[in-house]
């Protein structure tokens, strides 16, 4: 990864839009935003949080105003009042009581919630579902690269975003950032670090014998440099990405790197454990603990990214939803429509983005799942178009191939 591209020819954003757009008319419609960006006003940050295992959107953001809700959710239903009342959002939708920080951000205009959403994937395999969500492809099986990686590859060299690359959090970084563009790696440290001399010698050996390993090691060293400049060593040990403590540690580390002046502008991380087939729980219980962990991570982002929070969007997504009806074991099986969260100072918040399909049997997808009415890719396209100034054609061909008919959602970003 080049540290400095100042001697490269730098395209102005508006010129890029003209070159990149398929039709002049389309480019013209984007001109004002690019002109605005060219003034150098915004150095955007984007963090994508993948919830692996399929989040139950009907429990995270229960539609308590829907008359069908309580019957479908016997044993795990949330309530408008009582000691463990769900938190009000817009009078129809409520928020799970384990998420007070998200409720506060929502009320303060810094969070929006997309409901009844899904990717284009309509089967129910976690692994294919996650591949589709992260690869940005129309179907499973194409896992060479992720859509955030292609997004970076589509930006001209020299932009802050492409200069600093993306951050993939975890020993195994999420597919969404893997690919040809440089990816930095980081995970919460759990063991004493090897000496710099050993690392240097291995770098030399790989340079001569194994270019692929040489490249990944180089990226690891770069990330560590940024992290070490950002403050003290983190405590070692602690929970994994399926615990509240682990989620917080991961969020702290990601915020430290993404908040750095020379750090990556884009990061992807994953929280696990959302596959609640049995004993899912209501206001308390298994899902509540996980949602509490996510809520804590969102507050950690807000705190850790304070200086750049006004230019930040955190997007929280999952591969699909869960059955509308509770299954035989007080849990929910794999479903379709679910929720996504947009959180950050750059989000035009305090609103539900939803075309509610209803919960009557005939309104459900295959009579079992919440019907998806919003394609999450339209939301993602809308956010990154506004944050990074990508043109519609690039988004429809490179980032989310084959989505020409799916317009980026407008007005998501302040």
């Amino acid at each position: 990864m080049a540290a400095d591209d100042d001697d490269c020819e730098r395209m102005t954003p508006s010129r890029r839009a003209v070159l990149g757009a398929a039709s002049a008319l389309f480019a013209w419609s984007y001109m004002p935003k690019f002109a605005h960006a060219a003034a150098g006003s915004r150095d955007s940050r984007f963090l994508l949080v993948v919830l692996r295992g399929a989040l139950d959107g009907l429990s995270a953001v229960p539609p308590l105003g829907d008359p069908g809700y309580a019957d479908l959710r016997e044993g795990i239903a949330l309530a408008k009042d009582g000691p463990e009342a769900a938190l009000p959002l817009d009078g129809f939708f409520y928020l799970h009581p384990a998420m007070p920080n998200l409720a506060r951000l929502y009320a303060g205009g810094q969070a929006a919630i997309v409901h009844a959403s899904a990717t284009g994937y309509r089967e129910r395999s976690h692994f294919d579902g996650q591949d589709v969500l992260e690869s940005g492809q129309g179907g499973p099986g194409k896992t060479e690269s992720g859509w955030l990686n292609r997004l970076i590859a589509s930006l001209p060299a020299g932009e802050a975003v492409s200069r600093h690359g993306a951050l993939g959090v975890g020993v195994v970084p999420p597919l969404v950032v893997r690919g040809a563009a440089p990816v930095l790696g980081w995970a919460p440290p759990r063991m004493a670090r090897a000496g710099a001399d050993l690392v240097q010698r291995l770098g030399d050996l790989y340079g001569e014998r194994d270019p692929a390993l040489a490249l990944v090691l180089k990226r690891a060293i770069e990330t560590e440099l940024i992290a070490s400049r950002q403050g003290a060593e983190q405590p070692r040990g602690g929970g994994g990405p399926d615990s509240a403590e682990g989620m917080k540690r991961i969020a702290e580390g990601a915020a430290r790197l993404v908040g750095a002046e020379d750090g990556p502008r884009i990061a992807a991380l994953a929280f696990e454990g959302w596959d609640t087939h049995a004993n899912e729980g209501g206001a308390k219980g298994r899902l509540a603990t996980l949602l509490g962990g996510l809520d804590g991570a969102l507050a950690t982002f807000e705190n850790g990214l304070k200086p750049v929070w006004k230019d930040t969007v955190v997007m929280v997504v999952t591969e699909f939803g869960r059955t509308a009806r509770v299954n035989g074991t007080v849990g929910t099986d794999h479903g379709t429509g679910t929720v996504a969260f947009l959180v950050g100072g750059a989000v035009r918040g305090k609103r539900m983005i939803v075309d509610w399909p209803g919960l009557k049997p005939e309104q459900l997808h295959e009579q079992r799942d919440l019907k998806p009415t919003t394609d999450i890719r339209a939301v993602a396209k809308g956010v990154v178009a506004d944050l990074f100034g990508l043109s519609g054609p690039v988004l429809a061909e490179k980032v989310f191939p084959g989505t020409g008919g799916l317009a980026p959602m407008q007005g998501l970003v302040v």
Binding site: G168, D197, L202, E208, A212, E272, G273
Partner: protein, 487 residues
């Protein structure tokens, strides 16, 4: 044609199909193929030495442990109400401090001297050490590699809770090891009827909606295990099944459950078929109608899934990907699938086909060893006999703790997952630590390069080891060299 007199090819075969050489094994190079084939035995893989027998006694002991915990909590509650509360504290806190469940707060007394680990953790530790010990003793390690492969294919995760934590080792010993050179059908049935799997994928909770219990209690299906049987264990996600097939299979295997502490259906903790939970009547699965009674219906369905052509292709490709290349030669996958189909899923024949395949032997060494393979190969090379912490610590930081993948699809099996910046950096940390630990026991790292890499070692690796600033650094360089990392 592969030139089997080429020492490089022989050495590569040992790394590709085995667990790496131990010092003094250099002579094994002479007849590599015979030694690999010699580990294919009709009674399966060697059994690790543990002090527990099987799932049933472990299950019964687990129930007794849980009953004891409950009694201790109750005693504590009563004592607290009476204003005393001191005497009963110890045991209750031990649960919170040592519980494997994520998100559990540490008790205020967690700083006290570590008590004996609770029963499930104790079993897990012993099983983990025994498994690694067996891999260190193995000659080439081919059978152990197959155990790892099948154990990951049919994975369970101890993150599920105490039951799987205590049972994961027994699951591998009882369901996997005896069957890796038998028929796939038998392996499949052993796996899907094992208490660890029935708990991990919730089938012991699944109740036929029209069964006696279903009608009485108003509870019903959990389709988790049924879906993963078809998606992950047999046909593969594009193997040609529908949501209706998932639901059908879920109904077919209702009643496949684990005996509770009441011992009503047998020995506590063992498998049982409970007719009271089983959905009555026929079921249509993949176009075929099943009308067998009780457990036989599930046995018949699994037998058909085991023989399905999609299963042969799915297993063949996965096997080739694990041993040979992320994107294995199409002809190799076809060769393995043919062997699987023509022998009716004979896994000894399949393993033989793999080891003797020209394509498998001659493909370049591109695959990075998984963290588990890397750690075991390192212990073998360095002659270490690790304790639990020396196994669990490195595997945890490298992202592959024993029997704990994050989902039922097991650990990833491609370079994209393991050859990452953070992954490689963490391996270097592990190698540095291993080098420090072993430095006193290795006389000359340069000689060790010849012993464990021999003809595969490049001039640059030899030179890097020779010029290292210290013995620990020399060993770390050997373990992190491309020739040791890739197979």
């Amino acid at each position: 044609m592969a030139d089997w007199s080429d020492p490089r090819l022989k050495m590569l075969a040992l790394q590709r199909f085995g667990l790496g050489l131990k010092p003094g094994q250099g002579g094994a190079i002479a007849d590599v193929r015979e030694r690999l084939l010699g580990e294919i035995r009709s009674d399966g893989a060697a059994q690790p030495r543990v002090s527990f027998s099987g799932a049933a006694p472990i299950g019964r002991a687990l129930y007794a442990f849980e009953d004891g915990e409950r009694a201790a909590r109750e005693a504590k509650r009563v004592a607290t109400q009476q204003g005393g509360g001191r005497q009963a504290m110890g045991q209750g806190v031990q649960v919170a401090a040592a519980s494997p469940m994520p998100g559990q707060p540490q008790g205020p007394m967690a700083k006290q001297p570590a008590p004996e680990p609770p029963f499930p953790a104790k079993v897990y530790r012993e099983e983990a050490v025994a498994r690694v010990q067996g891999a260190l003793e193995a000659e080439t390690g081919f059978a152990e590699r197959l155990v790892q492969f099948w154990s990951n294919h049919f994975c369970v995760s101890v993150a599920k809770g105490n039951f799987v934590r205590a049972m994961a080792g027994a699951f591998e010993r009882e369901a996997i090891r005896p069957n890796i050179f038998g028929r796939f059908e038998d392996l499949l049935i052993a796996v899907e009827s094992h208490p660890a799997m029935l708990n991990f994928l919730d089938n012991q909770l699944s109740i036929g909606p029209d069964s006696r219990a279903g009608k009485r209690r108003g509870r019903g299906l959990n389709e988790n295990l049924a879906r993963e049987i078809m998606e992950l264990h047999t046909l593969g996600v594009s193997g040609g099944y529908t949501q209706a097939d998932v639901t059908s299979l879920a109904r077919i295997i209702t009643g496949w459950t684990v005996v509770g502490r009441d011992a009503r259906l047998g020995f506590p903790g063992s498998f049982a078929f409970n007719p009271g939970l089983h959905d009555p009547g026929g079921q249509r699965l993949l176009g075929k109608v099943y009308r067998q009674e009780g457990k036989e219906m599930g046995m018949a369905a699994l037998a058909d899934l085991a023989r399905h052509p999609s299963t042969a292709s799915f297993i063949a490709r996965k096997l080739a990907r694990h041993f040979v290349a992320d994107d294995p030669p199409q002809a190799l996958a076809a060769e393995l699938a043919r062997s699987f189909r023509e022998t009716g899923g004979d896994l000894a024949a399949l393993s033989r086909t793999l080891v003797t395949s020209e394509l498998a032997a001659t493909a370049p060494a591109t695959k990075l060893r998984t963290p588990q393979e890397f750690l075991v190969a390192s212990f073998r090379a360095l002659g270490r006999k690790p304790d639990f912490g020396q196994v669990a610590g490195p595997l945890g930081v490298m992202g592959q703790p024993l029997w704990q993948p994050s989902g039922p699809d097991g650990y990833p099996d491609t370079n994209a997952a393991w050859a990452t910046p953070e992954g490689i950096k963490t391996r270097i940390d592990v190698a540095a630590q291993l080098g420090r630990q072993a430095a006193g026991a290795v006389a000359d790292p340069r000689a060790l390069v010849e012993e464990v890499l021999g003809p595969l070692a490049s001039a640059q690796t030899r030179q890097a080891v020779a010029r290292a600033e210290s013995k620990p650094q020399a060993l770390a360089l050997l373990l992190m060299s491309p020739e040791f990392q890739r197979r």
